[in-house]
């Protein structure tokens, strides 16, 4: 028998804030109004004012609020607790130092519309980060405006479109196909679509690489605007034909967009710009360790060739040398070829600060060291699990390694079950069922932030689960056993979605 779940333990049964609310409780205090009070009706006519007294909004004291969020926080797995090997997500150590940097009052209290001369520190931070990202990618044009990876994709793909429109004029209309490998992340086709492109899918080879022949075939149609490629790709394998791939696309008149989600395998080792890539987005919330925050904020800077630079979003952060040689920084919106703005203000500045702190803390050696350690960790896991789990591709993995449930599923234990059982061993599961091209995919990315002993524990847990799948399949199929709640019925949830609390709910669940 397993532990009773969501037990009588009060911290395990924390209700919703609305259910906890008690009329009359207060969790705040404001200074008394220090100006003469104007009768409300003089300020705003009644028909413009709320009449509902915000009914339903919770009323709680400060300790109620603190306990509520502290309690529910304990239901989360998190990086500071243990290994979080989500493939493609790069869940590395989130430095507390970077959090401190982002909270320095001179940054945190700075209004985005403050005159540039009074915001030189912030502009310098952005400029410097741009310079470092240009060096790391080998692509000199950088915009920090995009708020996440997908946003960076959208930006990059729109730049390709703008570039082609300018280069080809009317002729560009015939060039509206974006090629995307079947292993790509869903955001790639979605971003391409949003930019008005038609998506055509490129097959992967049995080696897990982009099929060059297929690419050549598709390029032959001359309607190709570009290619969106992830490298290392989502199977964790470096596209070793990358130069040839770029050549084919360029020869066909297209441009190459690289999805930089997997840059943790390359920083300091190889640069997309040197491979022939025209534009890339980076995920600062992956490679540069800005915290994922339970789903954001992210930051997805775009880096491009000099040729594409005029098309980057405005405003750009630029540097001017003063008379005395001192630098000053400015925002420049005078870029007639720019695709325009993709976001109000200048991007997720708080994340720029953290990423810059990451880069400066690592320094030139540390950045490369991190890449090596990340790839080595993946290789270590690969070696440890090779005999137990099916590996769809034989190429040596870069920073993440792909397995499948082929062997285990014969006995009924599928990827989902293995993932859930890992929870009982104290690990966050790997990414599952992605990339879509591999059945029962398990994509494991340890990152550089995990030590040898914990990696070995992970390998041991996976092997143990494989054994359990044979000897005691129910144990695996009903996992997890150590959590507050069991597997949730997601299908039912989607069939009759309840997306918010309503007073009726209260009665139903009390």
């Amino acid at each position: 028998m397993n532990q009773p779940k969501a037990s009588q333990h009060i911290t395990q049964n924390e209700a919703l804030v609305f259910e906890r609310s008690q009329a009359g409780r207060r969790g705040y205090m404001l200074p008394a109004l220090d100006v003469d009070e104007t009768p409300l009706d003089e300020l705003l006519p009644a028909e413009l004012r709320r009449a509902d007294d915000l009914e339903g909004v919770p009323e709680l004291s400060e300790p109620d609020v603190v306990r509520h969020f502290t309690r529910i926080s304990t239901w989360n797995y998190h990086i500071d607790l243990g290994m979080y090997p989500l493939g493609s997500c790069t869940m590395k150590y989130n430095s507390r130092l970077n959090e401190k940097v982002a909270r320095i009052a001179g940054f945190a209290n700075l209004h985005p519309l403050a005159p540039a001369e009074d915001a030189q520190g912030a502009l310098e931070v952005m400029y410097e980060l741009q310079q470092h990202l240009a060096e790391i990618t080998g692509l000199p044009g950088v915009s920090l405006q995009p708020a996440a990876g997908a946003h960076g994709e959208l930006t990059g793909v729109m730049m390709i479109r703008a570039f082609l429109d300018k280069r080809d004029g009317e002729g560009a209309g015939a060039r509206r196909v974006m090629l995307i490998p079947d292993s790509a992340h869903g955001t790639n086709p979605a971003s391409a679509h949003l930019s008005g492109f038609t998506v055509k899918t490129i097959r992967s080879t049995s080696e897990g690489l982009t099929d060059l022949e297929h690419l050549r075939e598709l390029c032959a149609a001359r309607d190709v605007a570009g290619l969106m490629l992830t490298n290392p790709n989502t199977c964790g394998i470096f596209e070793r034909n990358i130069q040839e791939i770029c050549r084919v696309v360029h020869d066909a008149g297209g441009l190459v967009y690289m999805d930089g989600a997997n840059m943790n395998a390359l920083v300091g080792v190889a640069r997309p710009g040197d491979m022939g890539v025209d534009v890339i987005h980076l995920n600062l919330h992956k490679t540069f360790s800005t915290p994922h925050g339970g789903g954001g904020p992210g930051s997805g800077p775009c880096c491009s060739t000099a040729e594409l630079e005029p098309f980057l979003p405005v405003p750009r952060v630029v540097r001017a040398e003063g008379e005395g040689g001192e630098a000053s920084y400015a925002l420049d919106s005078d870029r007639p070829d720019s695709i325009g703005r993709v976001k109000a203000f200048y991007g997720n500045f708080g994340m720029h600060l953290r990423a810059l702190a990451y880069i400066l803390t690592h320094g030139r050696q540390g950045l490369r060291e991190a890449t090596e350690a990340a790839v080595l960790n993946a290789r270590f896991v690969a070696a440890g699990l090779r005999d137990t789990f099916d590996q769809p591709f034989t190429s040596p993995p870069m920073h993440e390694v792909l397995f499948t449930d082929k062997r285990q599923s014969r006995k009924g234990a599928h990827t989902l079950d293995i993932a859930k059982r890992l929870i009982d061993y104290g690990f966050h599961p790997m990414t599952i069922y992605f990339p879509l091209i591999v059945q029962g995919a398990m994509l494991i990315e340890p990152t550089e932030s995990v030590g040898r002993a914990e990696l070995q524990q992970f390998v041991d847990a996976m092997k143990e689960i494989a054994r359990e799948a044979v000897e005691d399949p129910e144990l695996v199929l009903n996992a997890p056993h150590t959590t507050r709640i069991g597997r949730l019925d997601e299908a039912a949830a989607a069939r009759k979605p309840v997306l918010r609390w309503r007073p009726e709910e209260k009665a139903a669940t009390a």
Partner: protein, 449 residues
């Protein structure tokens, strides 16, 4: 490198155990020609002491962060209770990923469910998503959604919408076959003009911001009638979410989609981001929402939990047919806003809004009495208003800053060449009477003949 657990010696041993001699060999699958043969041109590593000293020095160059501030225009100085930042700094929250594994992500999931509900309550809508990047991209997504829902391709956007939001929308629709048309703002009232000549039956949506960029509270009921009469959706944009504590909710006025910037809910200014976009709509459009949604689910024993749901709208399932390309959103900022809204609660959100309105009214009254100053627009305002100065606004503001250590507002010439003397002043509950007095006397001094 202190963030990397395995020491160089351990890594050497591990290399051996996977059959390699050198770290370089890890990268054998990368062709030599594209390998970087030199170290990156990035500075040498800095220690904590050096790094902090450096960033402190840099931050000190942001003089504007130290002054009393009357800038608003899409980003607002509100007070955030200490517990907000303390709670989001629990590593349980800030280091977690998107809650794809619900059994070990219930903290994040329950908080998002609470966020969605609070957004619905404040906007007066039925459903809200788990967040967008910010207010500007939320508005752009609303425009795209209106096209999906109505299958019409023209969208009328009020000129009272934040000019940067307008620019973002222009970028987003550039290749979506959507035409953006402006509805002008009446100079006398400072409210959007929209006759049925503008919002006609080709129009997918009528997009109105309230309070608008010039501070005016719009007549959203009238806008809703206009839109609905034309078979269009009313999309309401809110950049100053604190106003929702006082103003009639867009939902009650008839909005079909409400998008808002949630920065006012306890999120630091941080030079423009990260902020959080709110996106709410009617029940019937739930499956057209962009972004993530959390819903109730039950386990086999009937225990209530929360999961990401209706994922078939999303890019990881639907790929190019998704309702949006958004993946990572603004989770932690949405959490901060949730904690803020919960801590302030029913009474506090109203009190903040009332104080903003009262203090702005006070400031406005005082400025109106100044020689040579005028208030060009007559519409009621919440906490922002346009002031027409007797001199170029940029110059006035520069002198206010240097001579009186006050950031007096925004020179509207930044966006509108035709408004050289106008400044947009914003007053919140954080501005003391002494600060307001300093602003007023500062304005008097720097414009004295």
């Amino acid at each position: 490198m202190r963030y990397i657990p395995n020491s160089p010696e351990e890594r050497q041993e591990m290399l051996g155990s996977v059959g390699l001699d050198t770290a370089d060999a890890l990268f054998d699958s990368i062709p030599a020609e594209v390998r970087l043969a030199r170290p990156l041109e990035v500075p040498e590593a800095l220690s904590e002491i050096e790094l902090l000293a450096r960033f402190e020095r840099t931050a000190a160059r942001n003089a504007a962060a130290r002054r009393p501030n009357f800038l608003g225009a899409g980003a607002y100085s509100h007070y955030s209770p200490t517990i907000v930042d303390a709670l989001i700094q629990r590593s349980e929250f800030f280091t977690a990923y998107t809650p794809y594994q619900p059994e070990i992500s219930q903290g994040t999931l329950q908080a998002i469910f609470e966020f969605q509900t609070l957004v619905c309550q404040l906007t007066g809508m039925d459903v809200a998503n788990a967040s967008m990047y910010d207010g500007s991209t939320a508005m752009a997504e609303a425009v795209l959604m209106a096209e999906r829902v109505t299958r019409r391709s023209r969208v009328v956007v009020s000129s009272g919408v934040h000019p940067e939001y307008l620019k973002v929308a222009e970028t987003y629709v550039a290749h979506a076959g959507i035409e953006l048309v402006r509805a002008e703002v009446d100079e006398a009232t400072g409210r959007t003009l929209a006759g049925d000549d503008v919002v006609d039956d080709k129009v997918a949506a009528f997009v109105v911001q309230s309070p608008n960029f010039f501070g005016g509270v719009e007549d959203l009921k009238a806008a809703a009638e206009r839109a609905h009469a034309a078979g269009a959706l009313l999309v309401v944009v809110v950049t100053e979410s604190a106003s929702l504590g006082l103003l009639r909710s867009p939902g009650e006025c008839g909005a079909d989609v409400v998008v808002a910037e949630g920065q006012s809910f306890g999120v630091p200014l941080s030079y423009g981001g990260p902020y959080v976009g709110l996106f709410a709509t009617r029940e019937k459009f739930a499956r057209q929402l962009p972004g993530r949604l959390v819903g109730v689910a039950y386990d086999r024993e009937g225990r209530r939990g929360f999961v990401l749901t209706l994922a078939t709208r999303e890019q990881h399932i639907r790929r190019e047919k998704a309702t949006s390309n958004i993946c990572t959103n603004e989770g932690l900022i949405a959490l901060a806003a949730t904690i803020y809204m919960t801590a302030l609660g029913r009474k506090g959100l109203q009190e903040v809004a009332a104080q903003c309105a009262q203090k702005a009214a006070h400031a406005r009254r005082q400025i109106a009495t100044l020689e040579g100053f005028a208030l060009p627009h007559s519409a009621p305002v919440f906490n922002e208003f346009v002031v027409r100065a007797p001199a170029p606004a940029e110059e006035v503001l520069r002198r206010l800053a240097s001579e009186h250590q006050v950031t007096g507002g925004l020179a509207l010439s930044r966006y509108y060449a035709e408004r050289p003397n106008d400044l947009l002043v914003c007053v919140t509950e954080t501005n003391t009477r002494a600060e307001i007095d300093a602003l007023v006397s500062g304005l008097r001094n720097v414009t004295a003949p």
